[in-house]
Amino acid sequence: MTLDRRQWLAGAGAVAGLAMAPRIAFAAAETDRRLVVIMLRGAMDGLSAVPASGDPDYETARTGLAIPKPGAVGGGLALDTTFALNPALTHLAERYAAKEAIVFHAIASPYRDRSHFDGQNLLENGSTRPYGLADGWLNRALGDLPGPLKTGRSELGIALAPAMPLMLRGDAPVTSWSPSILPGPSADLVRRVSALYAATDPKLDSALEAAAQANAAADDMSGAGAGGDAFVTLMTAAAKFLSQPNGPCVAMVDSTGWDTHAGETGPYNVLTRNLIGLDAGIEALRTGLGPRWSQTAVLVMTEFGRTVAMNGTAGSDHGTASAAFLIGGAVAGGRVMADWPGLKPAYLYAGRDLTPTADLRQVAKAALRDHLGVEPAYIDRVVFPESASAKPFDGLFRTA
């Protein structure tokens, strides 16, 4: 890193610098693509988020937890003859009707045990083992973005979180941001500390550099942290970062609290509140992105599903397959993709869970290949090694 760059970062002219940085005119299709990955930590109950209302075994298998059929009081929002959306997901239903959302079901990562932490680690590192790789698949994917998408961006990805999630950790330049409450340090102090870190501590050095850039880009976000749902705040901020001319083109947003071992029943329960927040957050992103929404895809996934049957405490325990969503103006949507395994006891995984019939990597690989333009060979070799069995789905995105 040159001294010039360091001064540019810390100086008061940072924002002006951004505006004056040379921009090379590429076709919109190549430079305006945006990908947002939302990680639902704790294991979303896919059978309540996306009830299989048309499966004759659904209500029995889910006694106590079943979402009523579309049309009934409190019923789901019909997607097709088999599937519905949880009634909390009203905006998502609109996106589905506008053919901008694909709903996946009976889908899971390659993980087949039931530890949240191992399950999340595997899903984020992109290998087939917990701790199988030390960095994240989304970061590795950024290492092979096509030139037009990469050019001019100092950071390729951003995590809307105070700490960097594993999925975005790695060698590719990424940053993070969350709302602030304290007055900022002076540019002079930042310059001095930056010089000290450069001489003594490379890890702190790169973190500070990234933070300075994110703050310069976020200058117009005053008040973003005030009030409202925390997830909506983060998604609103994500829209602003992704709208910066030379800002990141990939964002990752965490959503927590999906581990519904108890209290999954009754009006306005924990799961319902989570789904309302998720739905509102995605809508805030869509609104905030404006015309860029047409070039955007949002991938929503969780580490595993939950037991089909209600447990002893009006909730559900750790399971296997769940649902996932792919939403955005770039998505060729309006359909459910599921090789439905059924809910009869004999069809369940280990006698208790929804059986996985699709692999989350099939969606992620398609998004990287067809939306961001990452080379297929690189995806198979570097981003998702050991994923030969998980072929990317074809046709998930609109063709320009």
Partner: protein, 503 residues
């Protein structure tokens, strides 16, 4: 005399040196650490401010009563109330009302949306002052402590047995859990801390075990013994605590146990439940409910435990505490905490041997960490957590009069809201968990705000840095402090330097 070792003892094993500390402990830094491996003779004064476990447990009831939505003392009833958005109608239990509520799912959202918001606002209003006071008491204890190694170990074991206010009813219980479950056993037997954890309302509620009942227990066959409002909430097994006991508290994940072991341990500890605050005698709310216990022998890790009621669980937990995988799991965590993110295997093996050789004596185990040569490497390998960073800043400055609300806000922004870890695996203990751009920036903001506030105090930053870091103050940092444009700026540079942020 070793100032080098004194600085390592105070900063790597302790919570940071206060002015004068390094000279005081330089005569025998290792002896200073080992002298702290004794039980507390008295609780630190700020800890006495916290309510008793029974009172803390009762606060959730009082809050619900204050809303006019429930007067019972039963925690199951209370949790049910809260999770239903506090609607009294849900408590009638008439004609399978709870089931009807379940299947209406989000259908009543529009009707329910306004009321739960007011429940949540009421929650914040009711609990914030006590929460902030508990946070301040913990901070004051740490900043003033003459036994900072003991305090670090208390934090370590509280994080090992995580209970989190991310679950609303835990907010008053997490601080008293650390005081009443962790502190008494920091230098005692791990098995006793494990048993105390499994009997405390914080853990039993956080991981749901108080509601879990054996599928073949008398209660499962005779639900009429349950109050109506609990019949739909307590119908069978919940394996949450059983799983985390194996995965997090004892053996460690991927150590060879199976889903059957998880289920069987969950059955073994069915009936480990709670008295309501109004029923309890004294401060112990633990209640073994015989008629909720799964009858019959259970097999765990190839050993069969006969059904001896509560003693079945005690036997299983003691065996888990003494298992070699537990020794290795705990040793690796201790070495990761005090030595390096990737702990040296030789040190882990020695610490595990000390644990096993002493029957799980945590004082002897901690002494083995002190005796590890790897722990005394001159290069600081660990990044301080936000909590360690804030406490050590206050100690370096000779104390800071922060309010509880200020501490909460600061630690929240640095990514570590007190008593609020995201999941049962607790806070991360590797630098990648804390060194994200935003977190590093928040530390710089804090150092800036603090140094501006202290500008009038006429502190010499170089003197403070020398007193805090001793020989750990590198020439580069010393030069940067010296070259600062003002003492305040120099103080900020000291506080954000790598020398101070690492330990």
């Amino acid at each position: 005399m070793s100032l080098d070792e004194a600085a390592i003892a105070a900063n790597r094993f302790g919570l940071g040196a206060r002015p004068g500390d390094l000279a005081a402990i330089a005569g025998d830094p290792r002896g200073w650490l080992k002298a702290q491996l004794t039980p507390e003779t008295a609780l630190p004064a700020p800890m006495m401010r916290l309510p008793s476990t029974a009172a803390a447990s009762g606060e959730f009831t009082k809050w619900l009563v204050s809303l006019g939505i429930g007067a019972g003392g039963d925690p199951g009833k209370l949790a049910a109330l809260y999770r239903n958005g506090g609607k009294p109608a849900d408590m009638s239990g008439a004609g399978g009302g709870a089931m009807a509520g379940a299947s209406s799912g989000g259908g009543n959202m529009a009707a329910g949306a306004a009321q739960p918001l007011s429940v949540e606002q009421s929650y914040v209003k009711y609990f914030s002052a006590g929460y902030a006071d508990a946070v301040q008491a913990r901070f004051q204890t740490a900043v003033a402590s003459e036994r900072p190694f003991f305090e670090r170990l208390s934090r370590f074991w509280a994080n090992h047995f995580t209970v989190s206010a991310a679950k609303p009813e835990i907010i008053t219980l997490a601080p008293v859990f650390e005081r009443d479950v962790v502190r008494p056993h920091v230098t005692g037997l791990f098995a006793e801390m494990l048993l105390a954890s499994c009997r405390h309302p914080a853990m039993l509620e956080y991981l749901d075990n108080y509601l879990s009942i054996g599928p073949n227990s008398p209660l499962a066959h005779n639900p009429q013994y349950l109050p109506k409002y609990l019949r739909d909430r307590m119908t069978g097994l919940n394996e949450n605590l059983g799983r985390e006991l194996l995965e997090l508290h004892t053996l460690g994940v991927r150590s060879g146990y199976t889903q059957t072991d998880v289920t069987n341990l969950a059955k073994i500890i069915t009936g480990w439940s709670l008295y309501g605050p109004n029923q309890a005698r004294g401060n112990d709310l633990f209640h073994f409910v015989d008629f909720a216990h799964e009858p019959g022998p259970q097999t765990l890790l190839f050993k069969t435990y006969p059904d001896t009621g509560e003693a079945q669980g005690v036997a299983a937990l003691v065996d888990l505490a003494n298992h070699p995988a537990t020794a290795h799991h705990l040793a690796a965590k201790l070495a990761r905490h005090f030595i390096a993110d990737d702990p040296p295997p030789a040190a882990v093996d020695r610490i595990a041997a000390a644990y096993s050789g002493s029957g799980g004596d945590l004082a002897k185990t901690a002494a083995a960490v002190v005796d590890s040569p790897e722990a005394w490497a001159p290069q600081a390998a660990k990044l301080k957590t936000p909590d360690e960073y804030l406490v050590s800043s206050a100690r370096a400055l000779g104390g800071l009069p922060l309010t509880g609300e200020q501490i909460v806000a600061l630690l929240d922004r640095m990514g570590q809201r007190p008593y609020w870890p995201p999941g049962p695996d607790g806070w991360p203990d590797i630098q990648d968990g804390w060194i994200a751009a935003d977190a590093v920036w928040k530390r710089l903001e804090w150092a800036t705000a603090l140094s501006q506030r202290l500008a009038a105090a006429n502190m010499d930053p170089t003197t403070l840095a020398e007193a805090s870091l001793g020989p750990g103050l590198t020439p580069a940092t010393r030069q940067a402090i010296h070259a600062a444009e003002s003492p305040a700026q120099g103080l900020a540079i000291f506080l954000v330097s790598s020398d101070f942020q690492r330990r």
